[in-house]
Structure formats: C-alpha cells, structure tokens
C-alpha cells in the first residue's frame, strides 16, 4: 500500500476561513491607500516605486489619505524572515533606485568566477559551467540584509511599515478585494484570549498587493477564490542555509550536484548545493532539494550537514565558525504553475507567492522586485482613473517583461528530473541548448503531496553533529534567532494521527524539529502513529504545506529573526 501525504490532509477550508467581507464597524476601520502584504523584496520594491510615483502626483497622494502606503510584515521587522542564496541579478535594483551607486547597494558585489562540481563521496569533479549557473555580473546578496535596507528607504519615503503584523484574512466584497484583516495577538495554546489579548483589525485599502513569499497564506486562498490558479499545481524545493565566517576568502560562486543525493529515479532526489562568497570574510552555503523525494528519512538539513564533511566543503569552511542558519521553501513549478492571472479586482500578486522563480538559474529576487514595481505602476495608473478594479495592466507588464520570457524558456527544465539525475540532466541540457524549444510541449508538474513515500535507510549516512562543523536541528533553530512564545497557539494545521511513513516523512523533513513521532496508537498493517508538534520551534519554511499539512501565519513577531541569510 502506498502512502502519500495527499491522502491525509487536515480539514482546512481556505475559502471559508481566510476570505471574508469586511465586517468591522466604520469607526473601527483603519484605512490606507495601498496595502502591501509582505515586507520582502517584492513588497518593498512595490512600496518604494509607488512612493516615487505618488511624489510626483500630489493630488493622488491626498486621495490616498493619511497613510498612502502601508506594508504589513509578520516578522519582527523586514528582513527577519527572508532567506535566499543569493546571487542577485542587479537589473531590478538598478531600475528601482537608479540614483544609488552600486557600491552603496547592500550587497557583497559581483563575483567573477564560478565553478560547478559533480560530487562523489570523496571527490569533486569539475564540470564545465552550464549556462544557468553562470553568474557573471550578479551580486552576492543577503536577502535579509537587502530587506532591512529596502525597508529603511521605504520608511524614508513615508511608507508605513507595520512589523509584527500578520495578515490572516483577505477582505473581499462584491468580487473586489477591499483589504486585509490582521492577526490577533495574545492568545494562549488553546486559542483562548490571554490577559493582554489584542484582536486584529481590518485594514481597508483601495488596492492590495500580496507579496507574501513562498507558500503565501492569503495568496493560496485568493487563487482558489478567484479561480486563477495555474495549469499545473505548484511545487516546491526546500532550502536549508548557513552563513559561515571563514578563514580563507572564497573567490568564486560554487554549485554542486550529485552526492549526497542519490541519482536513481526511484528516489527522486533532485537538488544541489550552493556556496557563495559574502565579501572576504563570510560565505553563504546551503542545500536545496525538491520536496518530491520518496524516502521518508530524507532530511535536507542533515544532507547539508553531510555535504559539509566532503573535503571540498570542509576546505572552504576550515578555521571558520557558523554564524547563522535558516530554511525556506522555493516554488519550483515555474511557468506552468504560475497563476493564470496575476490580478483580480483590487489585487495584484507578486514575487515568490506567484511562483516567479527560475529554478534552473536559482533566481527569483530580481523577478520579485520587478514584479513589485510593475504592480506599483499598474496600481498608480488605475488609481489615477479613480478605481483599482481593473489591474490588467499589471499582468500585461509582467507578460511583456523578462519575467515571462525567462520563465517560459525554463518552463520544462525542472520536470524531467523525476527521471533521475542523468536522464533528467540530459533532457534539461537539451532544453537549455535550444532555448526551451526541444523537447517542447508541456511537461506537467506533479503536486509534491501526491508522491508516495517509503521508509528508506537514508539516515544511516547522516553525520553525528559535532557542534563545530555539523549541527543538530535544535541548536540550529537557536541560531535562527527564533524566540517564539511557548504558549502561543499552534499555527500549523496537520493531522496528528497518520501512517508511520508520513510521520517519519515530517519528522525528517522539518528542519526545525517541529514534528516528532511518538508511540504507535494502532497496530497492524495500516498502523497509525501519533505525531506531537512543538510549533514554537517552527521557522515557517513552509515545507509542511507542500507535504500534507498547512502552515498558517503565526502571531505577528513570532518565528525566526534572520540577520544575514
């Protein structure tokens, strides 16, 4: 009997729970001109662009009221819950802030050299760098730092940034998006209001931008509600990242494929590692793997620890010290999984939440920023005519841009890898060489949750953490700055009595050790086990949503507090 997460979903009705008409009485209503959900690259670029446009149009500014632009950020502050590689293409930042010299950007500058290795357990075979991995001209970037920097610029332009504020409901009336409802704070473990309980509020806006990032909570509900989801189901990779101080500067962008992943199609292990310099003294390294793997004992965190024991990586990290750790999912369905429409009346969806990520090239930051700017431009134009009901010009701008072009070329490159590394690699290579034309067609993505899992022996190979080079999950959660309240309500919706395969899948998958298998509660062939959760460990990577559960926003301010990821 096969076990797949999709057969054990919790009961969540996104449309009923997360979409509602505004209901607060008028005097309690809070108004903003434009509400942007998400203080990441997409949201902040949108805010900055919008403030630039409004500055030239004082009448419109007046119309937008006391708070023309509000950005809602669920983390302690913008940047605290952003995580990425990253080698960022500079085109978006240059377009957003043309007057700022690149030397003043919050990046670590371009890196001239690159190397790609096919790894075995002991060796690293240098491969000619395939085009997607060439990063000439791209800037090594910490997206957490970028987020802080963009937020400071946005605030300087008068944008109001509401940190520690989660958006839990999308307010829709008569088919038009009216704003969002913010989350409650001060509830206890069972949801009961505590002494300092503060209910959320309705923020009404003339236009709303959902820039929530991977696994966007309201985005998922909105796609369903407006019937604008993509052709293919979205799917995800999970990335676990560390930042290290190193003794020897790294002089090139490094990518690896192969070991520790297993190449056979049966395992469906797709992914690889990156190691990027962050200036002279630090490196960013991480492992990304598709969540369509089949062995329930697969753990991206432990695979990353395993990778670090390889001589090549050990050499890079020698004499160094781990400074940071974190994890996040990346949407990898590409072109076919993007929403069929990126807008609805009063609404634009931008960035990772809309699946704007080019997986073969591991790029998404600049798409997010460009999309944020397009949304700002479309909203600005619409508001000048008096209504934000028709934001189709946003869709048009995206379609005519590099976002559409690049994602289209890469549209079938991820899917072939379910045939294993070698065959998949060959097919993807052919696509790359022909600009996406061969072998054409539409290679369908599969929902990660329908992939069946079995209990394999992978865990044998994971290194025992030594606290210097390799680390266990709990001390890693500590390094993420996560100090979530112990008695906070559980924000993870998942069934807790499931087959052993699924329980082990979650226990191994989760980089933060949220899920633990306790004793079996029934016996026999279809034995079910109990899963206990420690939601205060959760760093909100989103993997559970891809594999049978659903992450909803935690209380504002909870979760990781990334500085350098």
């Amino acid at each position: 009997m096969t076990v797949a997460p999709a057969d054990h979903l919790p009961s969540v009705k996104p449309e009923q729970e997360f979409i509602a008409p505004p209901s607060d009485p008028d005097e309690e209503r809070i108004e903003a001109g434009v509400a942007i959900v998400g203080g990441g690259p997409a949201g902040l670029s949108c805010a900055i662009r919008l403030s630039q446009l409004i500055a030239a149009e004082p009448r419109l500014a007046e119309l937008l009221g006391e708070v023309p632009i509000a950005v809602l950020e669920k983390g302690p502050r913008p940047g605290a819950q952003l995580l990425s590689g990253a080698m960022m293409s500079p085109s978006a930042l240059a377009r957003l802030l043309p007057d700022v010299d690149p030397s003043e950007w919050p990046t670590y500058g371009p890196v001239d050299r690159d190397a790609v290795y096919l790894m075995t357990s002991r060796r690293a075979l240098r491969l000619p760098t395939p085009p997607p991995f060439r990063n000439h001209g791209n800037h090594a970037t910490s997206v957490a730092r970028l987020g802080r920097w963009l937020a400071a610029r946005a605030e300087a332009e008068g944008v109001v940034i509401l940190s520690e504020t989660a958006a839990t409901k999308l307010l829709v009336a008569d088919g038009v998006v009216r704003g969002v409802r913010t989350g409650d704070r001060g509830r206890g473990r069972e949801g009961e209001p505590l002494a300092n309980f503060q209910a959320g509020s309705e923020l009404i806006a003339r236009a709303t931008v959902l820039a929530e990032g991977s696994q966007g909570h309201l985005t998922g509900a909105a796609l369903r509600h407006f019937g604008i989801a993509g052709d293919d189901p979205q799917r995800w990779e999970l990335g676990v990242k560390e930042v290290w101080r190193v003794a020897q500067p790294l002089d090139r962008v490094v990518h690896t494929i192969g070991w520790p992943l297993r190449a056979r199609a049966r395992y469906r292990e797709f992914g690889g590692a990156w190691i990027y310099p962050m200036g002279e003294q630090k490196v960013s390294l991480g492992f990304v793997a598709g969540l369509d793997y089949r062995d329930a004992r697969f753990s991206v965190h432990d695979v990353l620890q395993q990778l670090k024991t390889h001589p090549l990586v050990r050499g890079i990290l020698a004499g160094g010290e781990r400074l940071a750790w974190g994890a996040k999912t990346i949407p990898s369905g590409g072109y076919w999984a993007m929403p069929s429409k990126l807008w609805a009346p009063g609404l634009c969806i931008a960035g990772d939440g809309a699946g704007m990520v080019n997986v073969p090239r591991l790029k998404g930051l600049h798409y997010a920023m460009h999309a944020g700017m397009f949304a700002a431009e479309a909203i600005f134009d619409a508001l000048k005519t008096g209504s934000a009901d028709d934001l189709s010009s946003y869709q048009q701008r995206v379609e005519e841009s590099l976002i559409e072009d690049e994602l289209y070329r890469a549209r079938n490159m991820r899917q072939p890898f379910r045939k294993g590394l070698v065959l998949g690699g060959a097919i993807a290579g052919a696509m790359q060489a022909t600009g996406g034309r061969l072998p054409g067609g539409h290679w369908r993505s599969e929902d990660d949750a329908v992939v069946d899992v079995f209990i394999g022996k992978r865990a044998r190979d994971y290194p025992k953490p030594d606290g210097k080079l390799t680390f266990d999950k709990l001390s890693s959660v500590f390094a993420s700055g996560n100090v979530t309240r112990d008695d906070a309500p559980n924000h993870i919706r998942v069934r807790t009595r499931v087959p052993l395969e699924l329980a082990l899948l979650w226990q191994n998958m989760c980089p933060a050790q949220v899920y633990e298998v306790t004793a079996a509660s029934t016996t026999g062939r279809d034995a079910l086990v109990d899963v206990t959760l420690t939601p205060s460990n959760c760093i909100q990577c989103g993997a559970i949503t891809a594999k049978g559960g659903r992450l909803t926003p935690a209380e504002g301010g909870d979760g990781p507090n990334y500085q350098e990821t």
Binding site: I30, E66, V67, A70, P76, R77, R148, V160, L162, T165, T182, R185, G186, L194, A195, N196, F197, Q198, G200, S201, L203, Q563
Partner: protein, 260 residues
C-alpha cells in the same frame, strides 16, 4: 503630574575588536523589560488612583532608537524624547544615567519608570544613577506598585524575601518583568505612533557636560576581551552497579562541599 518612562535601547551585542566597546550600530529593539515599565505607567493611569497627566518615553541612542520610541508610543506613551549625539557614543552606565537625568530635569517628572534589566548586563543600575542625579528616592526590582494616598507602596523581592517599601513622589522606580503582562499595541496605535510628538535633543539641548559622557567621559575602560576559561572535560560514569555509582556521586559531591 507627569509620569515619565525611560526606556533604554538594547541592541545586537557585538564587541568591536578595535575599541572593545559594545557595537550598538545593529538593530535596536525596545528593551523587553521596558515594555513592562510602559505597561505599569498605563495601568497607573487607567487605575485612576494617581493623577497622570502625561506619559513620556525617553531614550538615549543612535538614529535607530527612534523606532524604539515609536513602539513605546504605540504602547501608550503620549510623546517621546530622543536624546542623541555623537558625543554620547560609548557612554557607560554612569554617563548614561547622568545624561538621561539631565533631560529628565528639563521635564520635571513626577515618576520615572524603567525596565530594571537590560540585555547587555547593565543590571538594575541605570535607575539608581538617575535617581542620584535627580536627588529622588529610588527602588529597583519592583514587582507591584500600589498608589496609596499619593504615595507608592512598592513590593520587591530582595535578599531576604519580599519587602514592601513606601516611596514619596517624585521617585525613580525600576520594574521587574513579573510586574505585569505588557499589552500588544493595536494597529491603530501603531499607525498613529508616527504622528505623535517626538523631540530630538542633543548634548547641548539637554545641558549635558560633554566631558562626562561618551567614551571619553567613561570612568571605566575595557582593556581585554577573552574567551572564557575552557572548562575541563567532565567525568562520565557508566552505571553498572547503582550502589557503587551512588557512592561515587556522594564522594564527588562531598569533595566539593556540596552536601549540606
């Protein structure tokens, strides 16, 4: 009657290897203990036993401290004062207390409330320094405040148990985290915070003697920072025979005089 808060900003802890001073350029957050101070002020105002005219939040710090003040305002302060000056960088606890006291003198508060313990280890002390300069009674570690006939009955946990101390106003009180559960700000309050009055004051504005503040005015200097002494690896006993094991544990404890 004025009630003033003095939140002091706690930042990312990093030591600059050149100067051996705490690098405070990182993100500044409202010291968690100071949220208790603001909450205490709010509760006093709401309680009605004390006539509270105004709650003013004051902080000393770099540009980023403004965010701290906005948070304080969103939690209930009516206005805020930002004391900032390049000459204040590197101030130790006495310099900080003196500088804050100078600003406070200009405001003439009826009560100064602070969070008692800051992340960077300046435990329970800023309040005492401020009080000395303001020539006001001071109490720290207070976990309950009850206004009685215009005076404050304060409970605090000291060396020998709970003390109840009566304090006449004006006074400086440092509160501990057990005093209350700070409220969360409402969205309205957060959004309105930016519009509340924020005064920026420099050393000159506050009549602070520059020679008594900043790194130059500090009366202590860090001369070295070292890693802690490596602990000797401990002993491990594999228990095969619990009686023997227990005897070894007892001997180990006795050797270190850990058995009463």
């Amino acid at each position: 009657m004025l009630v003033k808060d003095v939140p002091d900003a706690a930042a990312q802890k990093r030591i600059d290897p050149q100067t051996h001073r705490l690098d405070r350029s990182g993100e500044t957050n409202l010291n968690p203990f100071d949220t208790h101070a603001i909450e205490a002020a709010m509760q006093m105002r709401e309680g009605g036993a004390l006539d509270v005219d105004e709650i003013v939040a004051i902080t000393m710090g770099p540009e980023s401290a403004v965010r701290t003040l906005q948070k304080a305002v969103s939690l209930g302060a009516d206005r805020s004062i930002h004391l900032t000056d390049a000459g204040l960088v590197g101030s130790d606890v006495c310099a900080t207390g003196y500088a804050l006291a100078q600003v406070l003198k200009q405001e003439r508060p009826g009560l100064v409330l602070l969070g008692q313990q800051s992340d960077d280890g300046e435990c329970y002390t800023v309040g005492a320094v401020v009080a000395e300069h303001l020539q006001m009674p001071s109490l720290t570690q207070v976990i309950k405040i009850t206004p009685v006939d215009g005076r404050l009955h304060c409970e605090r946990q000291a060396e020998y148990g709970y003390d109840t101390v009566e304090v006449e106003l004006p006074a400086v009180i440092s509160v501990g985290d057990a005093i209350n559960e700070p409220r969360y700000p409402s969205l309205k309050a957060i959004m309105g915070a930016k519009r509340k009055q924020l005064d920026t004051r420099s050393i000159a504005d506050a009549a602070i003697d520059p020679g008594r503040v900043g790194a130059a005015g500090s009366r202590t200097v860090v001369v070295a920072v070292k890693p802690p002494l490596a602990k000797e690896p401990g002993e491990i006993i594999e228990d095969d025979d619990s009686d023997a094991t227990v005897a070894r544990i007892v001997a180990w404890l006795e050797q270190r005089k850990l058995i009463p």
